[in-house]
Subunit: 219 residues, 2 copies
């Protein structure tokens, strides 16, 4: 019985680790867009340098999961908690990669004035961050009502992406000198759109963890 | 002993399923680029329509893994086979998503002549396919020598991506009427570069499966 309890404590610890990684990734995305908006190359470089730490975090969580699976014969619901932790860590790591992609754009555009103030891109980032936070809350509290809210946020991000895309295309067509920078900003918008997709993946994984059923949030 | 054998048979079946999914995804990527190159919208539509099947394949493999974990207390090496199957299925599904992204470009450009014949993009796709095939071989034969070859292929894809990027930028600057299409082709190149990254993820997962050690192939 006490071994069982220690197992429960380990499951709890696993979830805390996922939460910590998620909070770190959310902050990294915020900082990536901040570095671009404020043309802060030092901050961008910190994000690039910090990526190894996030990669290691993912591996740490995966090893933890494999250890838990090996030590115990988990029940079905615990199995879902463990396999979901593995999946969440993969999606979080991919989101952090996109933050690095954005930070690299900051570094690439160093010294160039922006062709326009960034407004929709930071809004996309804000919503994507909110999606990560909601997912983490849903994860910790096993609360699927929060998962369903992700669909609406994802649509907002998609709409902003389309808006940014059209706007940048117009810039490029009107003034070919903006093309080089505009394509970089186009990629940034795309990365954020992907981050939001990854957040809906989190939602799907958490829905499965809680209910044992599959739900498609990419609709 | 016979239960153990049936378990081994199930592990074998799991690996066969991963292999089938991988072959399907490899073919989907080939077809996506073919649809773009040959302006075959019917083929592109088939890829878009077929994505649900690939998504379900991933879920099927995941469920299979969870079932195997629940039914047995796997040994460390079997645990790695199972957790690797889950990870490979996730990466394959993401690659298929990129194939869909490319097929959607085919549909979006319907009726427009291409601004240039596609040469480097199909080469990127060929190498990416080769990477998937090598990964699947490495997976089936537990052969890590094939994994290390992925690094060189990934660098080839990156070099082609940079070449395509520069070329399309030049097109756009010289003739702003090409901008709309060139940005789409830019995304296609980016998707293929990502597919190659996912293939190196497969390699890393397989390396871990075979050796129990981690190896960073994104260097």
């Amino acid at each position: 019985m006490s071994a069982r309890k220690s197992y429960q404590e380990q499951l709890e610890e696993l979830q805390q680790e996922v939460l910590k990684m998620g909070t770190l990734v959310e902050q990294t995305i915020f900082n990536a867009v901040k570095s671009l908006k404020e043309r802060n190359e030092e901050l961008a470089q910190q994000i690039v340098d910090g990526d190894d730490f996030i990669d290691e975090y993912q591996i740490k969580i995966e090893d933890f999961c494999v250890k838990l699976l090996a030590l115990q014969q988990p029940m079905a619901s615990d199995l879902r908690v463990i396999s979901t932790a593995m999946k969440i860590a993969v999606d979080l790591e991919r989101m952090a990669d996109h933050a690095v992609d954005i930070a690299k754009v900051t570094l690439r555009l160093a010294g160039q004035p922006l062709i326009k103030p960034l407004i929709d891109v930071p809004r996309m980032a804000e919503i994507a961050q909110k999606m990560i936070r909601e997912s983490l809350e849903a994860y910790v509290h096993h609360d699927i009502s929060r998962v369903e809210a992700l669909i609406g946020y994802d649509h907002e991000v998609d709409a902003l992406y389309n808006q940014v895309f059209r706007e940048l295309l117009t810039f490029m067509m009107e003034d070919p000198r903006t093309i080089r920078q505009a394509t970089q900003l186009l990629f940034v918008a795309r990365y954020l759109e992907r981050v939001a997709d990854h957040a809906t993946n989190l939602g799907e994984a958490i829905y499965y963890m809680v209910t044992g059923e599959r739900k498609d949030l990419n609709c």
